[in-house]
């Protein structure tokens, strides 16, 4: 070990700064009053409810002060991602010490009164939680759920060549699946065009109640594991502060110099051989510097340090232990009479935007540049008449996405993510202009791999796609995640956390809005020619709809031109999660690009060209939402035209699902009057829906005509079968839709009864045909809309 990375004076000052952060952390957990211990601690100085997490905190404070040093030493552009669940006190303490906290929240001033408020708000009703949350300056990473710190960090440094993200990974978090695979992110990092991630695996040995695996495997095995993941680990282990300061400083210098060396080699000398990036393993006791024993049981270095180690109200003897603990940091050396950090300590923090709490990358909306957008109308499919068959909706969209990628090559702020499905989802055209980013070895048979592509779809992990994209968005860039519909559920929980981040940050005036997270789901439930039941789940929209109306949107474009219009809108939008569901197989086009633009702007509307109610009250409303339901609805309408020509049918198509909700529930919601105008007050409505049918009821149960609403959708009836048979199995097919109408419109009379019998025979004919031929019968396959 280099024995003089730090001068004795520097080491002493850094230790004092660390003590200050630790003091503020303990203060947050415990103190209601007497923030600087100007008088002996009494029980009324202690909060009534003691809540929070001490265990990870001192280690993170240690890391933060050391990162401050290298930021200054090397003039680094660095942010801090706090992976361990409950490091809130540490990050709050440090951003307070460096001054950013008070700049954002002037009420939490840098004096005794501010300290008291700082302490009080922590884990207090309406205050801040024990994990790092959007309220904490400098953070792009919610510490509530675990496992995403490393993919968020990589997302942040993509296309940010000067940025380094120090990513602290908890050893509990490291056991999650998403974290375990995210170490492989290094195979996708360009040393030329991207920044660097410095993982700091923080082994403190315990989770809530259990030891951690990575702390208990032999050192040799841990080193093999990390080297096997492609990293070059530097180990910093111990519990003696002075030695640990020196060791950490030395390791950080080595890491930064190695990062610089890799980047210089690539940037200045074109040496782009796969790099073994440095990382640090920091092994320090859980609850370091806290109480060693409480009530005869060891605490420091054990799982008992996880939350709140002392409870003075329940155990009066703990009061003295708490005072001793607090005074062990010698607050009188750290803060002056007014409660201000001593100037010689304050000097240790970086200045201005170099402070990790003030770095604009961690408030990405500040850096957000609008995308250079091509005109989506230029990509529209030609629709001489409704019903012409197109190449597949996502395939029409692909050149538009290609050109979004192309137009923003210079500003490098748009990326496409997917788990090895970009071509499968019909988006191959993007590879006409860009490639997949890939830094590992290549072979002659590979396609579209390059060191600096705009597409990340070479890793089969939805978690990675989501995590990378979130990190990319949170640092002020744009993107699209394309995925098979059924498997987007894999990231359902990550979506929940991101939506919550958006909700909370939208309420913080100092946080700038970021670009929306755009899901483009294809390979959807209705087309399962060779996958079957496991690949059929349209329920992600149900998860999405549970989140706050202010941050979620769901679109079901009925055709390619509508998909273009919707995606254009989504890419321009801010601070939402946009869910877009589209097909990739050849399918009818219904609207010209101009009509599509108008229809999508309205979000819902009557398709006059398909209706024959002449603007009067119809006999039945045929509503549809989704590409396949729209196709079946129009096929049903054409059967009714032929066989029940006297029936007045209105066709309503829904693109923007939120239009169905009351306007009181969602900003996109229709007023009751407008809803009644479309769906009538009392006529039967046959609604064909892409996803589970009950969602439509959930959205419309307060509407006037709800009792006449009959919804068909996916009801878990599926197997490997033909496209049309999927709709038959779920009663969503044209024949069932007509029969549903006949059952609900008594006016159809004898013609209806006869038609129903005919259609039942058709269903039998269908079954027999596919069992014989393995494909749909020609009258279904070749059906075309006739105006």
């Amino acid at each position: 070990m280099n024995s003089n990375t730090l001068t004795p004076k520097r080491l002493q000052a850094m230790d004092a700064y660390w003590r200050a952060a630790n003091y503020l952390s303990v203060g947050q957990i415990y103190l209601f009053d007497n923030p600087l211990l100007k008088r002996p601690l009494v029980i009324d100085d202690v909060k009534q409810m003691l809540l929070g997490h001490w265990g990870t905190t001192p280690g993170q404070n240690f890391i933060y002060v050391h990162l401050n040093r290298i930021i200054q030493e090397y003039d680094l552009d660095m942010i801090y991602v706090s992976g361990p669940g409950h490091g809130g006190p540490a990050l709050v303490a440090n951003t307070y010490l460096e001054g950013t906290y008070s700049e954002i929240y002037p009420d939490i001033s840098r004096d005794t009164a501010g300290l008291q408020k700082l302490f009080l708000q922590f884990s207090f009703p309406g205050g801040i939680p024990s994990h790092v949350s959007p309220e904490c300056p400098g953070s792009i990473h919610e510490g509530g759920e675990l496992g995403y710190s490393l993919s968020h960090s990589f997302g942040a440094v993509f296309d940010n060549p000067e940025l380094i993200v120090a990513c602290v990974i908890g050893d509990g978090e490291a056991e999650t699946g998403p974290l375990a695979t995210s170490w492989h992110s290094n195979k996708f990092l360009s040393p030329v065009a991207d920044g660097a991630v410095l993982p700091i695996l923080h082994l403190n040995g315990y989770k809530i109640a259990n030891p951690t695996l990575l702390d208990r495997i032999p050192h040799e095995e841990l080193e093999q594991l990390l080297r096997g993941y492609g990293w070059a680990p530097l180990f910093v282990e111990g519990d003696q502060p002075e030695r640990m300061h020196e060791a950490m400083a030395t390791a950080l210098d080595a890491a930064i110099e190695k990062i610089r060396a890799i980047q210089d080699a690539a940037r200045l000398h074109g040496d782009v051989a796969p790099a073994r990036w440095p990382m640090i393993v920091l092994k320090s006791p859980k609850g370091w510097t806290g109480p060693k024993f409480v009530d005869g049981l060891p605490v420091e270095g054990t799982f008992r340090a996880h939350q709140v180690p002392l409870h003075p109200r329940a155990h009066p003897g703990h009061l003295q232990l708490l005072e001793d603990w607090l005074r062990s940091y010698r607050p009188e050396e750290l803060f002056d009479e007014q409660g201000q950090l001593m100037p010689e300590l304050a000097e240790l923090a970086p200045r201005g935007q170099r402070r990790m709490g003030a770095n604009p990358h961690a408030n990405g909306g500040q850096l957000l540049q609008d995308l250079q957008m091509p005109n989506f109308r230029d990509y529209g499919a030609d629709v001489p008449e409704p019903g012409v068959i197109g190449i597949g909706d996502t395939r029409v969209l692909a050149p538009f996405l290609r050109d979004v990628a192309k137009r923003n090559l210079d500003q490098r702020n748009f990326r496409i993510f997917g788990p090895d499905e970009t071509i499968s989802n019909g988006l191959a055209a993007v590879f006409e202009t860009t490639d997949r980013q890939w830094e590992a070895a290549t072979q002659p048979n590979d396609e579209f791999l390059a060191r600096t592509g705009r597409v990340f779809d070479s890793m089969l992990s939805e978690h990675q796609c989501e995590g990378w994209l979130e990190g990319y968005l949170l640092t002020g860039r744009h993107g699209v995640f394309n995925c098979y519909e059924a498997f987007i559920h894999i990231v359902g929980s990550m979506f929940n956390q991101h939506a919550k981040w958006l909700s909370v940050s939208a309420g913080l005036p100092w946080r700038h809005k970021i670009a929306s997270l755009n899901y483009l789901l294809s390979s959807h439930v209705w087309r399962q020619d060779h996958n079957g039941l496991t690949h059929q789940d349209p329920g992600f929209v149900d998860v999405v709809m549970n989140k706050k109306a202010g941050v979620v949107r769901a679109y079901f474009p009925p055709d390619a031109n509508c998909l273009l219009s919707v995606m254009d809108h989504c890419l321009r939008s801010r601070h939402y999660v946009n869910l877009v569901i589209a097909g990739k197989h050849p399918a009818p086009h219904w609207l010209t690009i101009e009509d599509a633009a108008a229809h999508c702007a309205a979000g819902i509307g009557i398709w006059d060209w398909a209706s024959n109610d002449g603007g009067a009250v119809p006999d039945v409303v045929m509503a549809c939402c989704g590409d396949v339901p729209t196709l079946e609805t129009l096929a049903a309408v054409s059967i009714m035209r032929e066989h029940l020509s006297h029936l007045k049918v209105r066709v309503v198509n829904v693109v923007d699902l939120m239009r169905l909700q009351p306007s009181s529930e969602h900003p996109h919601g229709l007023s009751d009057a407008d809803f009644d105008e479309l769906f009538t007050k009392d006529r039967p409505v046959i609604f064909a829906f892409h996803a589970y049918p009950w969602l439509i009821h959930r959205l419309t149960y307060r509407r006037t005509n709800h009792q006449n609403l009959h919804v068909r959708g996916y009801k878990e009836e599926g197997t490997i079968t033909t496209p049309f048979d999927m709709t038959v199995l779920n009663d969503l097919d044209r024949f069932h839709l007509v029969m549903d109408t006949i059952d609900r419109v008594p006016e159809v009379g004898a013609a209806g009864t006869a038609l129903k019998e005919h259609l039942q025979a058709k269903l039998i004919e269908h079954r027999e045909y596919i069992e014989r031929n393995g494909r749909d019968m020609p009258e279904v396959r070749d059906w075309r809309w006739r105006s």
Copy 2:
């Protein structure tokens, strides 16, 4: 390499068997007729729709024939888990060759007619999918979604000391998060009491369209990674069949001998030092033995071999290529005139239940033993009157679970799973009788770690808990997964796949029913004293309700005695997913254990003791579902008793959520008449619900009185705050519930108006109190029900 593991004759025979499996696999993908190529191939012999996956298939066929050898050689009890997505053709071919397929499906006979049917059903409407599905004998693992093969395999071998699971892991699958962390399962495997997993990492280099990471990192790095995960990898690499047979046989012998050595050392000599279990890395070309070039592009060994490499209907030149390919396996040497496998080849398969397709572990219901159940009534809390405060519902349950564990120690078929949350969820009592299973190093401060505990909660991974438990259940055992409510979403997609497995297997007469998957969710949305918004998501029930009614159940016990009754029921049930949501904090008991048992058996009911409608039509129905909603409802009722004593109030409590659905939708659903009896036909219903409120509307929109139903529940309003304030933020608190009643029952008159003002003042008082004191005001904290 040992150069004579296989005699030349044996090697030739095994190669022929492999060719037979490959032939049957290609036949499944392509052939409509002419199954044994008795005449030249014509286009009408080829299926109209060509769907399926060739890429992984020949490698899996290779593995299967080699496993057959070691099963016979060592008399192994072995099953095969097929991790790669689309190995369906391989497993179907092999179980057909060994005879199990025809035993289960006599129609698919072992002759030419059977072969033709075997081929036709594959990827054919209503047939079998391209991945391994429940229809495939010998499988416990659905190959649709990826990432769970290794945790399923470990789940299968826990408590099965003689079983070995050969777990084939695809190199695409290996990139998923769940798979990446599941390598660490080896730290939880007892060499004494559990069986062994033999992972076979199958590197064929490509996914759908991309190379795979583990194939492209240097050999040294891959070996470090696997050794870092704690395994001892054996490498088998190449493409020359003869050499590969010898290498694979040698590696498998070494692996089995190493497994036996570890088990013998532990079992016979008490040597339980952490073991480095063997595994195999098999590197073979994707689409091995398939077409090398098609239309000038390389196929074998590239991503182009992933699905269907030849398309004779679209490209007539491909017909000859297909025939050449099929004939390259020399079917005439493999099958006799009648289409039966040559006897000298048939001999290579194991016999009877040693055949992997017939092993009873892969049809776990066959082996299922009922749990020895204590009488849950013996664990009931004493409830002298409704409203006495208990220690926390899960804490009352814990001794019952402890004794379930205890009574089944001998039959070793019950386990508790959790992501480091078992104590946090109030279940610490289980450690009075058992421990956490843990094979890694221990330290003096650890608690409850042992080599053979009944609890797996030492790994922070919901994916692992779910995967292990599914594997354990699928092989005929019982278990409970305890988890924080919000984070169960992490396994939402795994739940989907398991529920689909249950649905499909329930329809297969030869598959025996297995024990239910029991989720016990605690640390729920309404108690967020120190976690806040990130930990608040009660929406898993929405995901669950989307699955088939036949396999899902959801319970919201209102108190501890109901929780006991519900869990007793769930542990006895079969083939469901049971979702149980319960609190862990001190909470009121409402029902004696006998009343609880009766109430839970009914699933829903009027609480007469809390109602004052005297059996007549009430003025209002106060309905509740969930522990906190029940508490707030009863507190609201007591306010109404005091201030609106003339109001006739009926209290309805819902335990079994499915009772709300129409009986036509769910087997638990109430008839409309029974529903009307409880909820009236026209009186206002104020419904307090644990989860998102719209779910209640979704379940009841067809009920007579739906238009008078007013539901309160969680609506994403949350932060770190007091228990009561969480209800206030979401309008679910007692004050809002009373005001909701006043707004909907005009009969309350002036008394209602005055009370409403009073309650609004109370809400302000509440807000001020918690802001001052950080806890709920005494009248809320100390409130008790008075009859």
